[in-house]
Amino acid sequence: MKRVVITGAGTINALAHDVPGTLAAFREGRCGITDLVIRDKERLSIQIGGQVHDWDPEAHFNRQQIVLYDKFTQFTLLAAREAVAQSGLNFDGMLGYDSGVVLGTAGGGVNTWDDNYRAVYEEGKNRVHPFVVPKLMNNAAASHLSMEFNLKGPSFTVATACASSNHAMGQAFHMVRSGMTRAMLTGGSESMLCFGGIKAWEGLRVMSKDACRPFSLNRNGMVQGEGAAVFVFEEYEHAKARGAVMLAEVVGFAMTSDASDIVMPSKQGAARAIAGALRDGRLNAEDVGYINAHGTGTAANDKTECAAVADVFGHHADRLMISSTKSMHGHLIGGTGAVELLACIMALRDGVIAPTIGYEEPDPECALDVVPNVARDAKVDVVLSNAFAFGGLNAVLALRKAA
C-alpha cells in the first residue's frame, strides 16, 4: 500500500476566495454568513446564507467558458487552480495518464436548473440555450478539471448529499493508496443559493433564520453556504522525490450506511464510520487531537454526533477538541467536507484549531470541548473530518501531520 499526502489546496467560499484568506478567517473566528443577495429573496422565509460575494467570473474565464460553466463549476476551477499551483505539479506529460479527478456535489448546476425552469415555466419561453445540459450535469466540474489540467485517469463525481466531498476524497485516497493513480484532484463544490435551491430546503423546516450555532443549546438550525475546495492528493514517494511541500498525510477513511431513515441520523452509523476510519488508519483513539465535526447546528445532528464521538472515544472524548466551521461558512452541502478539510490541515500544520462560533449556551447533550467562539493554539498529530449525510450515508477521513 502506498502512502498518500496532500500537496496542494485551493478554495473559494463565503469567508474568502483563497486558502490563506479562509484560514485567516478561521483564526479570527469570523462569520461569513450574511443577508442573501439573490433574485426573489422577498419570497423566501430564509434570507441568510454563506454566500460568495464579489464573485466576478469574467475576471477568471472567457465568454466561451462562462457559457459552459455553471457557478459550481466556476468555483471548482478557481479552487483547483490554486491547489495545482501550490502543488507545483504539471500533468501535461505521462503524469496526466496516471492522474484523475473525483469530486463531490449534491446538486450540480442548481443555478442552471433554476434559471432555465424560470425561462420555460415562468416566462413561458419555448427555447433554452443549447448548453443547458452540459452546464448543469453533476460531473461538469470534474470534466472541466480534467480538460484544464490534462487528467486522463479515473474521473467521476460522487453524490451523497452532505457527505459527497468526503466520499469523493475517500475514493481519491483509495486510488492513490492502491497504486491505481499517482495523483488525484479531489474535493467538492456546491452552488445552491438561488431561489429554488433555498425554497426546497425551507420545506424541511430545519433552517435557521438568524445564525448557525452548532452545539449551542439555543441552536435553531442549519444555514446553507456555497463554494468549493479542491486538493491534490499525491503518492508519498512521488511527492518526496520532487521535494514537494506536504500539507498533511491522509491515513484513513471509512464509510457506513445507517440503513434506517432518510433524514434522521443514527448514532450507530456515525460511530461505525468514525471507528472504521481509526481502524483503517491503524490509529488509537488517543492519537486523535481534533475532529472537524459535521456540526450542522440542527437539533438532531449535533446531539447524535456528540453521542457517537463519546461512544467511540470513551474518556478520551473529554480530552479531544471538536469544532464546526459551518458556523462561519455555512453548510456547503456536497462541498462542505472539502472546505472543512482546510480546518484539519490548519490544525495539523499551523497548530491552530478553528473555533465553533455563535456558541452561546452549553447543551448537556453536546458536552464536549467544542472550541467555543475563539480559535485555540494546540499541537495535534491526528485529526478526523466527519460527514453524515441525509440518507444515512456517513464518511470519515483521518489525517496525520506530514512527516
Binding site: 423546516r205 430545519v206 441552536r219 433524514v263 437539533a299
Partner: protein, 88 residues
C-alpha cells in the same frame, strides 16, 4: 364553509397517521397517533395548503415555535387562531 377547521385538521392528521377520522381524538398526541418528525412536517405543510396560512414551525425548536403541537386539540386551536388572524 362546509367543514369546520377542527374537522379539516383532524382529516389531515388522520390521513397522515393512516387512521380513520373516528380514531383521532382531540386528546390524542402525535406520539399516540404514530406521527414522527417527518410526518409532523408533512402535516403542517398540508395544513398550510388547506387553509392558505403560514405556520411558524421550526423542527429544531418545536417548543419555541408559537404553534402548540402537544395534542390534536392544541393543533386545532393554533390553526383556528392563524385562520382568524388571516381573516382579520
Amino acid at each position: 364553509m362546509a367543514d369546520s377547521v377542527k374537522d379539516r385538521v383532524i382529516a389531515i392528521i388522520a390521513e397522515q397517521a393512516v387512521l380513520d377520522v373516528a380514531d383521532v381524538k382531540l386528546t390524542s398526541t402525535l406520539d399516540d397517533l404514530g406521527i414522527d418528525s417527518l410526518g409532523l412536517v408533512e402535516s403542517i405543510f398540508a395544513i398550510e395548503e388547506a387553509f392558505d396560512i403560514t405556520v411558524p414551525f421550526n423542527a429544531n425548536e418545536p417548543g419555541e415555535s408559537n404553534f402548540d403541537i402537544s395534542s390534536v386539540a392544541a393543533i386545532v386551536a393554533a390553526v383556528e387562531g392563524l385562520v382568524a388572524a388571516r381573516a382579520a
